[in-house]
Symmetry: C2
Subunit: 341 residues, 2 copies
């Protein structure tokens, strides 16, 4: 038994083992497994049977080295612990796995330098990258995109395919919501200065405010973490507004906590609108009115666009831009403006 079974070695089987078992050349095995049409069907079946028998698993390193394709895609997010990215990551992971790719997830720690060096690193070990909420400059991004296929999420740079979450338009909805509740003094709690999402949202918001004749002031920037919510809440209270539209739910939830500490009631004294509808937005106290969108889907779309870039043959004109719809989900953190004293 051991004589007819060349396996039994500890080392994982290679195509050479298969070739020996079948009495063909290693190259034939390679072709049989990758471009099945180039090989006689009977031979191919023998090879496939042998591969199955040996539990053959191709060595991805070797494959990458000789073919130039790694079968991996990098996904860069600024902060793994931000729940917003959970669903995005899950979306990319599902879509990549479905296409037989591996996901390389990297936390860039909100740092442009880490982001840049990661990209350089990934240039050799990934076929393309999905970059969420990049902190890099347009120029740096374009330079990187020239070196390897890239899709951005929530970052619009001409020439780079992107998936955008349409929070700017939802911001107008939020504004209308607040106006209908008779708020007139409203603040935008800005995100990081380097976040294009925050910039675009502010642009949309201030334009909408002007159209509607209300005043919206901008506070911040604040880091997109719950801890920043305290400072944001204090700034909002100090500025005398009765409603806030926050850059994201983390900040909004942090504000809720701080306002509670200070004895300021939400929504009676102050209304809060978040953004992203992250895990927790529905069960915080009060539940958060927020702008929701299909984040997981955004992840899937981003991957689809990237894979279309990698395999141009597979039909379908490559979309270079995809905008995910967003809608306002009204919960308990917004209410009528307090009566002026």
């Amino acid at each position: 038994m051991a004589t007819t079974q060349p396996a039994a070695v500890d080392r994982p089987p290679t195509i050479h083992d298969i070739a020996a078992l079948c009495g063909v050349a290693a190259s034939t095995v390679s072709r049989a497994l990758s471009s099945p049409d180039r090989v006689n069907i009977r031979t191919r079946q023998r090879i496939e049977a042998a591969a199955a028998q040996l539990h053959y698993i191709p060595n991805s390193q070797a494959k990458a080295l000789s073919s130039g394709r790694t079968g991996a895609v990098g996904v860069l997010v600024p902060d793994i612990t931000n729940p917003f990215y959970f669903d995005l990551i899950r979306g990319t992971q599902l879509q990549l796995k479905a296409a037989g790719y591996t996901q390389l997830l990297v936390d860039t720690e909100e740092s442009d330098e880490v982001e840049a060096s990661t990209m350089e690193q990934l240039r050799k070990s990934a076929d393309g990258i999905v970059v969420a909420a990049s902190r890099l400059s347009d120029e740096a991004l374009l330079a990187a995109a020239a070196k390897m296929p890239m899709v951005t999420v929530n970052r619009d740079v001409p020439g780079i395919p992107a998936v955008l979450i349409d929070t700017p338009s939802a911001t107008s909805q939020a504004l209308d919501h607040l106006i209908s509740l008779r708020h007139t003094r409203i603040a935008y709690i800005a995100g990081p200065a380097t976040s294009q999402s925050s910039t675009r949202r502010w642009a949309a918001l201030s334009e909408a405010a002007e159209e509607r004749g209300v005043e919206v002031r901008r506070l911040g920037p604040f880091a997109p973490k719950t801890q920043s919510g305290a400072a944001a809440a204090d700034a909002a209270v100090h500025s005398g507004v009765t409603a806030c539209i926050a850059f994201n739910d983390l900040i909004a939830i942090g504000m809720l906590q701080r306002l509670r500490e200070r004895g300021i009631r939400v929504p009676e004294d102050m209304s809060i609108v978040g953004c992203d509808d992250i895990f927790g937005a529905d069960f915080c106290n009060p539940p958060l009115t927020t702008m929701a969108s299909p984040i997981e889907q955004a992840g899937r779309v981003a991957v689809s666009m990237l894979l279309a870039q990698l395999n141009p043959l597979a039909g379908g004109g490559t979309r270079s831009r995809s905008v995910m719809p967003t809608h306002l989900t009204v919960r308990g953190s917004t209410g009528p403006a307090p009566a002026p004293h």
Copy 2:
């Protein structure tokens, strides 16, 4: 110019480019960059200068192929979107990065099959793996551990190094807390049947209950998701208990939501204790009494143990087991037992 400057190509530089630039053999370059002592310091400096000038970045695939070491470590978690794993992932990521390793993060979707096939896959592309809350059998885990260095988290199998989070002992604390609040009818809301954490916790809990002469019944199993909280809450109410110790915070938060819907007050009518102190446990309504532990640190420790396995030379006896302390964090979801009518 093009004659004296071998760079200027689009293709990334290799050690051969460096070798050509310095007039030495490629192998000398390799040695100069990896084992610096084996090469003349002046030559080395020339080589280093050339490498810097060309912006040389070693090709990790090629490195892995020829050396057998990949410089990557796989991290397997059952569910990326479970906030419990955020901190764990961040911990592993930080520690790995500090040691110059890359993290390959995989969501095994609570499936033993996905977990097993992922391990097989990773065998070629990672030097070792960290497996959190494995759903595999002891035998399968041992077999996998025999093929590649492994550290488990929250899974105790003799022969495999593990980081354990000491929730069993915290469970007793939780029980004492509830007893001191005069609860006598208490339920344990069990996690997945394949979860060893759940099993170990129940063992500790039922033993402690017996010692203290109170009755604790077991309900479930339930999937570790907020959605399961509804069923868990209904089961708890139906069973007539006044307090529950839940497998994790996700279930506990789901229970809070369901109980609120049903008009059952927490903690007046029912006390709830969670586990893990995840993101959200502090701002749900009411804030959750839960068992907290240094999860990020657990991730770091797991990676340290794995790296110690990979590089046995670097001194320090290899710990094969590390237990993370846990303590009860009392918040608003637990209170005195309702007076019997």
